[in-house]
Every structure is written in structure tokens, then in C-alpha cells.
Symmetry: C2
DNA sequence: ATTTATAATCGTAATATTGCAATATAAAGA
DNA sequence: TCTTTATATTGCAATATTACGATTATAAAT
């Protein structure tokens, strides 16, 4: 297999899991942190900063874009990435809702 | 490959990513939610509730235990799972720190 | 026009993950 | 003891992910 049985879960559970999954790689954590540290745009600085091949960074950026956490704007021959603050804040709220709702006891 | 290059990231980044990764599967989201909904213990109810094979559920439980989010106590022939509230709260704080610290601008 | 810089995409190898059947283990009850 | 119940573990097949070199596409600079 290797395939998640998404059909048996709710849309909300799947979406939550996908967001967690995208955040679940240190390169993507590092990318988000670096993008946010630079008040200006970064582009291929990430390749130097992080130390993964350009193709690999590009792939990770794609995943972060896929759930809307990063915006990418063309700026001449460069790509200018920044954090989508609206989505970022929304996701943070959703995660907190999950954590708060799930806080409960057992046994 | 398929192997994450963990060496090139900080311990904090790796740990954060691992936590996100463990949460990044709908079955594990569902398990946490179900465990918390039951004020009492659950055990193999999860297999019925979620609809994955017993071996699969057991594997997911193992991963949740591995980062300390779930406690498992033997209770006769049963296993009694509950959420480790201390760890749960700690993780929530860490994730919020990550989200808040990373909130910033670009371009 | 040609070269250079930047970044996406393709193809591929190595490894990881998901899921399950089968088996093992261990306690409870007959 | 023998059977049942509950859970963990093992082994395996299918698929996904990570990473990279090579290629491609585009715009800027010469």
C-alpha cells in the first residue's frame, strides 16, 4: 500500500492531517523560518542557506505553496516568496482548535 | 533517497518536524479525537470506530506513543490509552511559538 | 543574438510509509 | 488446561517521499 485510506476519514480530518504533513519535514520548517526572518524576499538563497539541491528546495516550496502557506510572485527572473499571513493565521487557529477540543481525559 | 537529511537541520527543527509528521495522518488525528471523546478508556474500539485493521491501528498508536502524546497502561488483557495532557499542552505551546515567531513579512 | 541567472520540471534511485494477514503473546474465563 | 479476547509484532506488497542530476523555460544582461 503506502496509500492513506482517505475515504474513511472526514474532510476536516484529512485537511488537518495534510497541513500537519506538509509541516512535517525539517526542510519545510527551515524554509518557513528563513522566509520569515528575511523581511525582504528570498529566492535561491534558500539553496545556499539550507544546503539542499535546487531541485529539492523547489519541490519543498511547491508543497508549501500547495496548501497556501507561501505566496510566490514572479519578479523578473526571480521568484519572490513570502508567507501568506492570512492562511498562516487561519491554520494556526485550526490547529489550536484541534488541540483545545482534543484536550480531555481518559481512564 | 527517501531519507530526510536530518543532519543539516537543528535539533529543534527536527523535533518540530517529527511532531508535525506524527500528526500528519488522518488516522492518527482520528485516534486522538476518539480517545479524547471517550472520557473513559478505549482499546480496540478504535479498530471498529475507525475501520482500519487491528495491526494498522496498533502501528499508529505506537507512533503516537513514540512522541509521548499517548499513554498506554496495561489493564489486565486490555490496553488503556489516554492522552498525555502534559505533553499535549507542551506541544501545543511549541507549535504556537513556531507559528508566532514565524509570523513576519516579506517583499 | 548569445550568454547568464533563476527556478520549475522530469526522470530516477533509495528509502519510508501505509496497510494487512499471519503469527505471537498474554490475561481471562470456561 | 483449553479457549477466547485483546493487543503487539513480523513480513510483505503497494505506494509515497526525499533527494538529486539533467533538462527546460524564461528573463536579464552583455
Amino acid at each position: 500500500m503506502g496509500t492513506t485510506k482517505a475515504q474513511i476519514f472526514s474532510e476536516r480530518q484529512n485537511e488537518l492531517a495534510i497541513a500537519f504533513k506538509v509541516l512535517g519535514h525539517p526542510a519545510r520548517v527551515a524554509i518557513l523560518e528563513y522566509v520569515s526572518r528575511q523581511n525582504a524576499c528570498i529566492c535561491n538563497d534558500l539553496v545556499e542557506e539550507i544546503g539542499l539541491a535546487q531541485a529539492t528546495i523547489s519541490q519543498h516550496l511547491k508543497e508549501l505553496k500547495s496548501i497556501g502557506l507561501l505566496n510566490g510572485e514572479v519578479e523578473g527572473k526571480r521568484m519572490c516568496y513570502d508567507i501568506n499571513l492570512e492562511k498562516w493565521t487561519k491554520l494556526q487557529k485550526e490547529l489550536n482548535t484541534f488541540f483545545n477540543t482534543t484536550k480531555s481525559n481518559c481512564c
